[in-house]
C-alpha cells in the first residue's frame, strides 16, 4: 500500500517545507518515502506541484492522474487545477486564500467562482480552511504552510500527533520553532 499526496500552490508559498515535513514524518515511521519537487523557472510565482508518496515500497516518485489519495493546496484555484490527479472520492485539504494569477491580473481572465462546488462535482471531498488568517493569528503569514499541515495531519491515521510534532521540530529552523509549533497546533484544532 502506498499513500500518495500532492502538495500544490503558488511558487514561493513554502511547499518545499511542507513536503519535507511530511516526508520526514513518514520516514521516521519506518516507511519507504519518495518526494518529488520542482525547482527553477516554475518557482517564480507559477503553479508548483510536489509529490509525496509513502508505503512499504515506493517506486515512481511522481503521481499520475487518478492516483492521489490527497491533495494539499495552498491556494484555491491550484486545488481545482489538479483535481483530476485525485482518485474518485479522494480528499482535498485546501487553503481558501485566492491569489490572482497573471492572466487575471492582466485582465484577460477572471478568477473562477464556486471552485469548491466544482471540485465536489468533479468527485472530490473538500476541506477548505482559511489557513492564512490562522497563520497570522499564530504570529506570521509565513506559517500558512504549517497550519495546513496541521489540518492535514488529522487525515493520516498512520502518523500520531507526537510523531508529527517531532517532524516539525526536525524540519524548521530553531528560531522559528515556537511559531511553527503554534501554527501546527492551531491547524490541528481548526474546524
Amino acid at each position: 500500500m502506498v499513500t500518495s499526496i500532492m502538495i500544490v500552490g503558488v511558487g514561493g508559498q513554502g511547499s518545499l517545507l511542507a513536503s519535507k515535513l511530511l516526508g520526514r514524518a513518514a520516514m521516521d515511521k519506518g516507511y519507504d518515502v519518495k518526494v518529488s519537487e520542482v525547482h527553477g523557472m516554475s518557482q517564480r510565482g507559477g503553479s508548483v506541484v510536489t509529490y509525496v508518496k509513502f508505503g512499504d515500497k515506493v517506486n515512481s516518485p511522481i503521481i499520475d492522474k487518478g492516483e492521489a489519495d490527497y491533495i494539499i493546496s495552498f491556494e484555491l484555484l491550484e486545488a481545482a487545477r489538479y483535481v483530476q490527479f485525485l482518485k474518485p472520492g479522494g480528499q482535498i485539504v485546501t487553503n481558501s486564500q485566492q491569489i490572482d494569477p497573471m492572466p487575471v491580473i492582466a485582465g484577460t481572465a477572471e478568477y473562477p467562482s464556486e471552485l469548491i462546488e466544482k471540485m465536489e462535482a468533479a468527485g472530490a471531498k473538500v476541506d477548505a480552511i482559511d489557513a492564512l488568517t490562522i497563520a497570522e493569528q499564530a504570529g506570521s503569514s509565513k506559517a500558512t504552510n504549517i497550519v495546513l499541515m496541521g489540518v492535514f495531519s488529522k487525515y493520516i491515521s498512520e502518523i500520531s500527533k507526537e510523531e508529527w510534532i517531532k517532524a516539525v521540530e526536525a524540519s524548521v529552523p530553531a528560531k522559528f520553532l515556537d511559531l511553527n509549533m503554534k501554527a501546527f497546533e492551531m491547524g490541528l484544532a481548526a474546524e
Binding site: 519518495k34 510565482g45 507559477g46 515512481s60 511522481i62 499520475d64 482518485k87 497573471m102 492572466p103 491580473i105
Partner: protein
C-alpha cells in the same frame, strides 16, 4: 545511517564518501544542488566557475594534479563544455574525475530537451545513469573507480526526476584517497596531432574493455519476472515507472551503465522473452543499440520522443486501461511564472516595451520579460546569444536596426559567455546597445554567487570583477549605470545610447528583491478616490497589483515597496499605508 535525500544531495554525499577534493561547476537547474551540498563538506573545495567549460577544465586540472575532482552542469551546459570533453576522453585522467550532467525532459526549467546520452557516445566516454537517490550516491563512488581503472573521465547523467526527488539513502564513511603524484607525460597530455593519433587507438581499446565490463557489471542487472511474454529494458526514472506499473511481473534489464552498452547481456535477455520492449525518455539510444544487435524491439514506435514519461503513460502505451479519476475542471486560467513583486528587471522591461524596441534576450529570470503584459523580449536561445545575435542583426540591417534594437543579459550570464560577444561588437564595430541587467546574483537557479558579486560559493569574500571597468577595457567607451526603479532615468539612458554613434553598454543595476541583504520597502496602496481606472500601472505586470471593483488594488502582503507603479500614475493615486503621498 538512513536519510531522506534529494538525488542531488545524494550525489554530494557520494562525492564526500569517494574522497573527492575539488569541485568546480556552473549552476543550472536541475544540477545546481550537487555542488551546493558538496560545499557543506569542509573536505571538498567547491567553487562556481564563470561557465561550464571553465569548470570542466578546472576539475580536469585538479584530476591531473592527482586529486579526485568533480564538475556539474545542466544538459545545455555540456554543449558549452563539449570542447574539453572530447579531448579529455583522449588524454584520460590522473586521479578520478566525474562530470555530472542533468537533463530536463519536460523542460521544467530549460530552453530545449536534448538527450545528453549522445555526448557519451560521441566522446566515447563511460556514462552512468542512476534511478534514485541511493543509486545516485553509489554510482558516484563507482564512477571514480571506473575513472581510475579505465583512465577516463566518467559522466553521470541525472534527470529532473532523479535530481529533484528525495528517497532514502544509506550513508557510509569517507574514503581517504592518497594524492597520485603528477608526472609529466607529453604523449598522454599534449594533444598535438602526433600524440592524439597514438591516443585514439587507446580510446577505442578502452571502449572494448568497457563493453566487457558492462557485460559483467552489477550496474546492468536483470530482475527476473514471472511472465516472460514480455521483457523490458529500461534505465533512470523510466525504470521506476516500469516497476510501478508491473512490479515483478515481467523480467527487467535495468541499465545503469548507459555507455557503452553490453551486447551479450542484452542478447541473452532478449532470448528469454517473447517480446522485447525498451522504455527510455527522449531519444532511442538503447533501442538503436538493440537494433544494431539485430534484435526486434518495441520502443519509439509506441513511446514518445518528447516530454517526460510517467507510470500512466507507460501503462496505457502497453495496453492497460487508464485509472479512474476525478473529472478535470475545464476553463481555469493558467498560472505562468512571472517576475516577482519588486523585481528590478521589471522597470527596464517596461521602458523597452514602451519604446517598442526589438530586444534580444538571454537566459535567466529576465527571460520572464517575454511574458504578458510586458512582452518585452523578442528572442531567447542560449547563454550569451543576446549580445552576439544583436551584433549580427545590426550588421545585417545597419543604422535602421541599431536605433531600435538592444540586447539584455544578466550579470552572471554576461560573465558566462556575454563577454566574447561584446568583444565582437567592440572589434567589428556595430553601434549596438547592450543592457546588462545586474541584479548582483545568479537568480533563476536560486541565488548563486558569480565573479561580479564579490563573494564565493560559500558566501565568503572573494575577488570581484568591476563590470564598468571590464566593459571599458574591452573597448566600449560609452558605459553608464542606471537604477531600473527610476523609470525616467532608465528611459533617458536607453534613448541616448540608441542615438549614440558608437557601441554602448547600460548597466541596469539593482540587487534581486529576494536577496536576504535587500531591505523590503514599505508597502503602498491605491486611494480608490484618486484612481481613475486608467490601468497604466497594470502594464507593469506586477503580481501585487490587480484590478478590483473598478480600481487598481495593491496586495500589501505581496507589495515590495519598490514604488515603480507610482511613477506611472498621473493622478497620484498611490499613497503610503498612512495615506500620505509617495516620496523618493
Amino acid at each position: 545511517m538512513k536519510e531522506l535525500m534529494l538525488g542531488n544531495k545524494a550525489v554530494a554525499r557520494g562525492l564526500y564518501e569517494a574522497g573527492v577534493a575539488v569541485a568546480s561547476s556552473y549552476p543550472g537547474t536541475p544540477s545546481t544542488e550537487t555542488t551546493e551540498e558538496a560545499a557543506k563538506f569542509e573536505e571538498i573545495y567547491c567553487e562556481w566557475a564563470p561557465n561550464e567549460k571553465v569548470a570542466m577544465e578546472t576539475a580536469f586540472g585538479a584530476s591531473r594534479a592527482g586529486k579526485r575532482s568533480y564538475c556539474a552542469m545542466k544538459h545545455v551546459g555540456l554543449n558549452v563544455a563539449a570542447d574539453p570533453l572530447f579531448t579529455m576522453s583522449y588524454t584520460g585522467v590522473n586521479a578520478g574525475m566525474v562530470i555530472l550532467v542533468a537533463d530536463d525532459p519536460g523542460m521544467h526549467s530549460s530552453q530545449n530537451e536534448q538527450d545528453s546520452r549522445h555526448y557519451a557516445i560521441a566522446a566515447k566516454m563511460p556514462m552512468l545513469e542512476p534511478a534514485d537517490s541511493q543509486e545516485a550516491k553509489d554510482f558516484v563512488i563507482e564512477a571514480y573507480d571506473i575513472s581510475e581503472q579505465f583512465d577516463t573521465p566518467v559522466l553521470i547523467k541525472m534527470c529532473t526526476r532523479v535530481a529533484h526527488s528525495q528517497s532514502v539513502v544509506e550513508t557510509g564513511e569517507r574514503a581517504e584517497i592518497p594524492v597520485k603524484p603528477y608526472v609529466k607525460d607529453a604523449a598522454k597530455y599534449v594533444m598535438v596531432p602526433a600524440n592524439a593519433k597514438r591516443r585514439h587507438p587507446i580510446v577505442e581499446e578502452r571502449t572494448r574493455k568497457l563493453v566487457a565490463f558492462a557485460e559483467e557489471s552489477h550496474l546492468n542487472r536483470v530482475e527476473e519476472g514471472s511472465d516472460t511474454s514480455m521483457g523490458i529494458i529500461t534505465s533512470s526514472t523510466s525504470y521506476q515507472y516500469v516497476k510501478e506499473v508491473f512490479g515483478d511481473k515481467y523480467p527487467v534489464l535495468k541499465i545503469g551503465l548507459i555507455n557503452p552498452l553490453p551486447e551479450k547481456k542484452i542478447k541473452d535477455f532478449a532470448a528469454k522473452v517473447d517480446k522485447l520492449v525498451v522504455v527510455e525518455e527522449l531519444d532511442p539510444i538503447i533501442e538503436t543499440h538493440c537494433k544494431t544487435l539485430g534484435l526486434e524491439v518495441t520502443g519509439k514506435d509506441i513511446f514518445p520522443l518528447i516530454d517526460e514519461f510517467s507510470q500512466g503513460l507507460i501503462a496505457t502505451k502497453l495496453g492497460l486501461p487508464e485509472k479512474p479519476a476525478c473529472k478535470p475542471i475545464e476553463g481555469l486560467p493558467g498560472r505562468p511564472p512571472a517576475m516577482c513583486a519588486g523585481c528590478p528587471h521589471r522597470g527596464m522591461f517596461y521602458v523597452l516595451s514602451k519604446l517598442k524596441l526589438t530586444v534580444m534576450g538571454d537566459i535567466g529570470c529576465y527571460t520572464l520579460g517575454a511574458t504578458p503584459p510586458l512582452c518585452a523580449i523578442d528572442t531567447t536561445e542560449c547563454m550569451g546569444a543576446s549580445i552576439s545575435s544583436l551584433h549580427g542583426f545590426n550588421k545585417a540591417l545597419g543604422a535602421d536596426a541599431e536605433k531600435k534594437t538592444v540586447a539584455v543579459i544578466g550579470d552572471s550570464t554576461f560573465m558566462h559567455s556575454g563577454m566574447t560577444g561584446l568583444a565582437n561588437i567592440a572589434y567589428n564595430q556595430t553601434n549596438s546597445t547592450v543592457i546588462i541587467l545586474d541584479n548582483s546574483i545568479t537568480g533563476m537557479t536560486g541565488h548563486q554567487q558569480n565573479p561580479t558579486t564579490g563573494f564565493n560559493l560559500r558566501g565568503d569574500p572573494a575577488g570581484k570583477i568591476d563590470l564598468e571597468a571590464l566593459v571599458r577595457a574591452m573597448g566600449i567607451n560609452r558605459v553608464r549605470v542606471v537604477d531600473p526603479y527610476n523609470l525616467a532615468e532608465a528611459e533617458a539612458a536607453v534613448k541616448e545610447e540608441l542615438a549614440a554613434e558608437e557601441p554602448s553598454v547600460i548597466i541596469s543595476r539593482r540587487p534581486c528583491a529576494l536577496l536576504k541583504k535587500v531591505k523590503r520597502g514599505e508597502p503602498i496602496q491605491v486611494n480608490p478616490d484618486k484612481c481613475k481606472s486608467c490601468k497604466a500601472c497594470m502594464k507593469l505586470g506586477c503580481p501585487a497589483i490587480s484590478f478590483k471593483d473598478g480600481h487598481a488594488h495593491v496586495d500589501t502582503t505581496q507589495c515590495f515597496g519598490c514604488k515603480v507603479c507610482s511613477e506611472l500614475c498621473k493622478f497620484g493615486a498611490f499613497e503610503t499605508l498612512a495615506g500620505e503621498a509617495i516620496t523618493w
